[in-house]
C-alpha cells in the first residue's frame, strides 16, 4: 500500500452517522468559557464573549454616587501612561514559580480563582465535553463532588467556600451551587432555563452572584444578574447601577459587597461601574473617547480594560475609593488584589510601585498569570508548544 492507496482507502471509508448535536456543543462551549478566556476574547473593542447581561430597570436620573463611604470627588485623577508612551518601571521583586499539582489523570487543567489569603485555588479539568471542579488547599488538589456531571468553580473565599456553575450531562440544564463544609448546595434560579456566564462570583460574606441569560440566547439578550445572599438559596435580581439605561455584566464582588462590571449596549461594553446590591454606585472614569469594563475587584481596587474604537484594549487599574485610574499600554487586567497589584495574561504583575515579572518554570515557556492573592501569590499557567500546565508563583 503506497500513499495514494492509503489516501484512496481512507477517503472511501464511511463512518456511521454522527450523533453529535451542535446545540449541545454550543451549550457546553458557553460553559467552558472562563473569565480568562472572556478577557482573551476582547480584541479591538470592548465586546465581550458571552458577557452582556441585560438587567432591565426603569430609566432613571444618572447617579454617580460613590460606591463606598468616603469616596473621593469623582473628578478623578487619570494617569495615562499609554498616552505618554511610558511603561511601568520594573521593581526589585523576585518571584518563585512552581508547578501546581493536579489530581491523578486530570487533563486540560485551568485555574479560575485564588482566595485573598492565597491558601485556596479553584479550577477545573476537562472531562469529555464537560468539566470536573478542583479545589487546591495549600497546594494540594482535590476533586470536588458537587453532584453534577459537569461543573466549574468560579470563586473561592478565605474560608475555602466556593461557588460555581454545574450542568446536566447534555448541558441543557445549568444551576449555580455554593460549596462549603464539604457539601454543595444547589441555589435556586429563576423559572425557566438559564445559561450562567462566565462564572459564579463569591465574597467572604458568602454573597454569590452570576450573570444569566435565557437558554438559546447569546450576547446577554434578555439576561439578568442574580444574587444569593449568605445562607440563602433564593435568587434575587441585582439592580443595575442607578441611572444607567443599558444592560450590565458583573465580574466580581468585594468583601464589603461592592460589585464591579460594566454596562453594555448591543453586546458591547460601554462604561465600567462599581455599585452595591441596592444599585447605588458610580461610573469608573476612563480617558475621553474610550469605553471601559472592570473585570475584577478587591478591596479598594478594580482592574479591567479601556478601549479606543478599532484598537485592542489596554490595562486599567482603578482605585474605587479615590476614583483615580491608571491606564497602561498593556493587555487588559484579569485580576487585582487589595494592594492594587493587577495581573494580566502576559506574565507580569503591575503594582502601584512598578512591574514584576513572573519567571517561566523551564526555558522557553510562555507565562500567563491570571489571578492574584493579597499576599502577592499568583496562579496561572505556563505553556510550551501545545501543552500548558497550571502554575503558582510567590512574589
Amino acid at each position: 500500500m503506497n500513499e495514494d492507496d492509503a489516501r484512496e482507502l481512507l477517503h472511501a471509508t464511511a463512518a456511521p452517522v454522527s450523533g453529535v448535536d451542535l446545540e449541545t456543543v454550543v451549550r457546553a462551549g458557553r460553559r467552558r468559557r472562563t473569565r480568562r478566556r472572556v478577557a482573551e476574547a476582547c480584541g479591538g473593542v470592548a465586546v465581550i464573549a458571552a458577557v452582556a447581561a441585560a438587567v432591565t430597570v426603569p430609566a432613571a436620573v444618572r447617579d454617580h454616587a460613590p460606591a463606598t463611604p468616603g469616596a473621593a470627588d469623582p473628578a478623578a485623577v487619570i494617569e495615562q501612561a499609554a498616552a505618554s508612551g511610558a511603561s511601568p518601571s520594573p521593581v526589585a521583586v523576585t518571584c518563585q514559580g512552581r508547578e501546581l499539582a493536579v489530581p491523578s489523570g486530570a487533563q486540560g487543567v485551568t485555574v479560575t480563582a485564588i482566595d485573598p489569603s492565597g491558601r485556596y485555588v479553584a479550577g477545573w479539568s476537562v472531562h469529555g465535553s464537560g468539566s470536573l471542579p478542583i479545589l487546591w488547599t495549600d497546594g494540594v488538589p482535590a476533586r470536588l463532588d458537587v453532584g453534577a456531571p459537569s461543573a466549574e468553580i468560579g470563586a473561592v473565599n478565605r474560608s475555602g467556600a466556593a461557588a460555581g456553575v454545574a450542568s446536566s450531562a447534555d448541558f441543557a440544564t445549568e444551576w449555580v451551587f455554593r460549596y462549603e463544609h464539604g457539601h454543595a448546595t444547589k441555589l435556586n434560579g429563576l423559572p425557566g432555563r438559564w445559561h450562567y456566564y462566565p462564572q459564579a462570583y463569591l465574597n467572604d460574606a458568602g454573597y454569590v452572584l452570576v450573570n444569566a441569560e435565557p437558554q438559546g440566547n447569546s450576547g446577554g439578550v434578555g439576561g439578568v444578574t442574580l444574587l444569593w445572599r449568605p445562607g440563602s438559596t433564593t435568587a434575587e435580581k441585582l439592580p443595575l447601577p442607578t441611572g444607567t439605561k443599558n444592560s450590565a455584566g458583573i465580574f466580581g464582588i468585594t468583601d464589603d459587597n461592592t460589585i464591579a462590571g460594566g454596562t453594555y449596549a448591543d453586546g458591547a461594553g460601554r462604561d465600567a461601574y462599581v455599585w452595591d446590591v441596592q444599585g447605588h454606585g458610580r461610573k469608573l472614569d476612563a480617558p475621553q473617547g474610550t469605553t471601559a469594563v472592570a473585570y475584577a475587584v478587591r478591596g479598594d481596587w478594580a482592574t479591567g480594560g479601556v478601549w479606543r474604537a478599532g484598537h485592542d484594549g489596554t490595562l486599567a487599574v482603578w482605585n474605587i475609593r479615590t476614583g483615580a485610574v491608571r491606564v497602561l499600554p498593556q493587555e487588559i487586567g484579569t485580576d487585582v488584589n487589595a494592594l492594587g497589584a493587577a495581573v494580566n495574561r502576559t506574565g507580569k504583575v503591575f503594582r502601584p510601585d512598578g512591574v514584576a515579572t513572573l519567571p517561566p518554570l523551564a526555558k522557553g515557556q510562555s507565562v500567563h498569570g491570571a489571578f492574584i492573592a493579597d499576599t502577592g501569590t499568583v496562579v496561572g499557567d505556563v505553556s510550551s508548544g501545545h501543552t500548558s500546565i497550571p502554575a503558582i508563583w510567590t512574589c
Binding site: 454522527s18 450523533g19 453529535v20 462551549g29 447569546s218
Partner: protein, 174 residues
Amino acid sequence: MRADVEREFVEYVTGRMPRLHRAAYLLCGDATRADDIVQATLVSLYAKWGRARGADNIEGYVHRILVRRFLDERRSAWARVVLSDSLPERPDPAGTPVEDRDAVVTALRGVPRGQRAVVVLRFLCDLSVEETAEALGCSTGNVKSQSARGLATLRELMGGVPVTAARVGKVEER
C-alpha cells in the same frame, strides 16, 4: 459570545462536522467514542473561537485539537478500562478480503496510535507533512518515519491486498 460570532462558529462547524467525525472514527474505531472526541474538540474550539477564527491555519488548529483529544484518551480512566480490557482484533494477515469499512477500521485499530494519527491526518485530512507535524507537536522527520511505519503496518494488517475505493464502496460526505 456575540450572536454574529456564534453564528460564524456554527456555520464553520456545520460544514466540517462530517469530516471531523470520519477522522475521529478512523482514529478510534468506535462511533460513540468518535462522537465524544468530536464533541470535546468542538467544545474546546468554541471556547477558543475568538482566537481560532483569526488563525492562519484554522484547519490545522482544529485537527490538532482533535488528535490531542484522541491521544489523550489513553490517560483517561475510561480508556484504561475499555481499551486495556479489549485489545483490538487483528485481521488474518494471510489475506482477509477488504469488504467493508469494518475491515479498514479493524486494520487501523492494529496500527499504533501515533502512527494511526499520522496516517489519518496525512491521508484522510490531507494535511501536509509540516501541518501534521504542527498538529502532533513533533518534527517533520518524525511524521515521515511514522507515516512510513504506519503504512507498512496497515499494509501488513490488510494482508498486502491492494485496496481501491471500489472495493470499500463509494462514500457520500454527509
